[in-house]
Symmetry: C2
Subunit: 396 residues, 2 copies
Amino acid sequence: MTLLPCKDRFDLPGGVIYLDGNSLGPLPKGAAERALAVIRGEWGGELIRAWNTADWISLPRRVGDRIARLIGAPAGSVATGDTLSIKVYQALAAALRMRPGRKVILSDSGNFPTDLYMAQGLIDTIGGGYELRTPAPAAVAGAITEDVAAVLLTQVDFRTGRMHDMAAITRRAQAAGAVMIWDLAHSAGAMPVDLAASGAEFAVGCTYKFLNGGPGAPAFIYARPDIVGEVRPALAGWMGHDDPFAMEAAYRPAMSTERLRVGTPPIVQLSILDAAMDAWDGIDMAEIRAASIELSELFIREVEARCPQLTLVSPRAAAERGSQVSFAFAQGYAAIRALIDQGVIGDFRAPDIMRFGLTPLYLGREDILRAADILGRVIGDGLWRDPKYQAKSRVT
Amino acid sequence: MTLLPCKDRFDLPGGVIYLDGNSLGPLPKGAAERALAVIRGEWGGELIRAWNTADWISLPRRVGDRIARLIGAPAGSVATGDTLSIKVYQALAAALRMRPGRKVILSDSGNFPTDLYMAQGLIDTIGGGYELRTPAPAAVAGAITEDVAAVLLTQVDFRTGRMHDMAAITRRAQAAGAVMIWDLAHSAGAMPVDLAASGAEFAVGCTYKFLNGGPGAPAFIYARPDIVGEVRPALAGWMGHDDPFAMEAAYRPAMSTERLRVGTPPIVQLSILDAAMDAWDGIDMAEIRAASIELSELFIREVEARCPQLTLVSPRAAAERGSQVSFAFAQGYAAIRALIDQGVIGDFRAPDIMRFGLTPLYLGREDILRAADILGRVIGDGLWRDPKYQAKSRVT
């Protein structure tokens, strides 16, 4: 018997159908109470002692272990903290050191900009003739040549939801001698991920999307346990030191993935994320995936029946698609704003993409049917033509 | 008329004298309520819309401006986010690019380990024969030679409280053609800082000490406005892009200190920090400094009168000392634990330093007198000899 959808695990506002959990997941029940307990009881009451008495010191590892379970990684292999951008830099910098002589970082043109920017910043910083190549997503497997040091790909395309074949591309990268780095921003909590089986050297991800960790929640990084000893941390912060409180003058990395921690961890946001992970108790990722596909197919069918003006840009085949559905529409920006005013929250990605996240933890068939119905009215009745929806706001 | 101490701006636990605000500041009034409003009202109620409706998008800059006021920096010159370790890396990497051909990073042997570790990690990452030099603090000014690219110093020594002369060392560094980077971890909120007058190119700091931002609160970085255009961000994250939501393929840095932002900001912890900054309303840093010196001198006098076993390791001259007082004692670890059990919270730093933060926002003369009295009994009566205080815990 399925637990899905388990809306009772979230505090969802009334009158809203939330199809943007792929951008910022909703508030899990218990997260606010946990934050308050940490702030008032631990910080306020225990002050500095809370590092011991409330075990703040092990919180990053404990939260990492809970994420590990959802992405097919062994306990102790996932470090938390910082932002996804920082974690991309760490993985890339380590990968380049592992393949001296090779000068190419291979990504794809569909990757999220910050991944590409961090690669550009790293290349600019280290000099030495490195190059970032970004072929089209479909061409990336064929572009893994013997000069590639690292392949950096986001498994699920943030615009279209198109999904790379993690196992096949990892095999291909490693056959060519490259280090494989997966960005799981739109995978962790969205579908089963089997990192260990993939053999990938690194994975990174954020926790404010499908993991519902809250705005600016800490990121995570996985390093395959057998290569941790080879990883030279570019961001050699004290929390990655083998013995941070010995206050030694020389950096000496921890002999685990903890070496990819950097500075003092964000205890309040880590605690909120820890509470958010309770929403996954007893949830089977295979069941999430089955429900996600069902909801996605329903949404595509119902929207296409009502909105011939929209063009599906997500793959039609479920096996090639993550847990989102995107449609192109020239007036997509205004249409999303009009849709939000009607209580259905999706988002817009330039230049013309209307994006909808399907999150079976808190969405059921009835939500999808209603959302499609409202979208049909927004498009069919031309609600988006209202001038108030045309002006660009700062963030969409 | 002085407002100090303004204990009513904090939720301080009863029965405790807190002399560790230089490690983790106490809970400011209103911080918990603000966190709850952000979590329940903004995140829970507004969901993704809160980036606009609650103006999350400008929160990092607004908080930066509030910090700027306390460190003598102009509005718009301070970016917030990440950890201090990350900010050190950004400043150092940018500084090295500004001085091509020079191969030395100069710091001192008293600097906080993570600053030295980040420098070591950067050097290891970029190659090219860079070198970190760490003379003794007193020798650092004389060690600024023409091969130094960047001088990286923490103004106030975390162990001893010894304070560098910011203006003089900055002048010397710049006369030698080096870029000056100040770590204000133990300065911001502890004393007046006049960054603009110093002319230093960069400053970095954390906010969980004297600024009371909470455990793992975001860090900050200052770049002198006239050099921002020269700063090449090594950590080229999307939030430092000139137009993050344009989702361009190529990194193009913002034309302000915002280019030193990296990933998605930690909204909950930034909000708590924002609330914590309310405690500074109407407070004059010169008054803080005067009170800090008065409390420190009182503490030194009273402790020395009671505890001949302890050796002052902080400078005796107030002008050379930050807002902390440290004593060496071979059994310091056990003594601090015994002292905490008696309600006076200080901390220990290896190998033998008992460290006490003097924070006039919430400490008055009566607290200092009582703390000295209790310390006198812990040392004089040998309470620290109890075996339960000898075993090392993980964090002190």
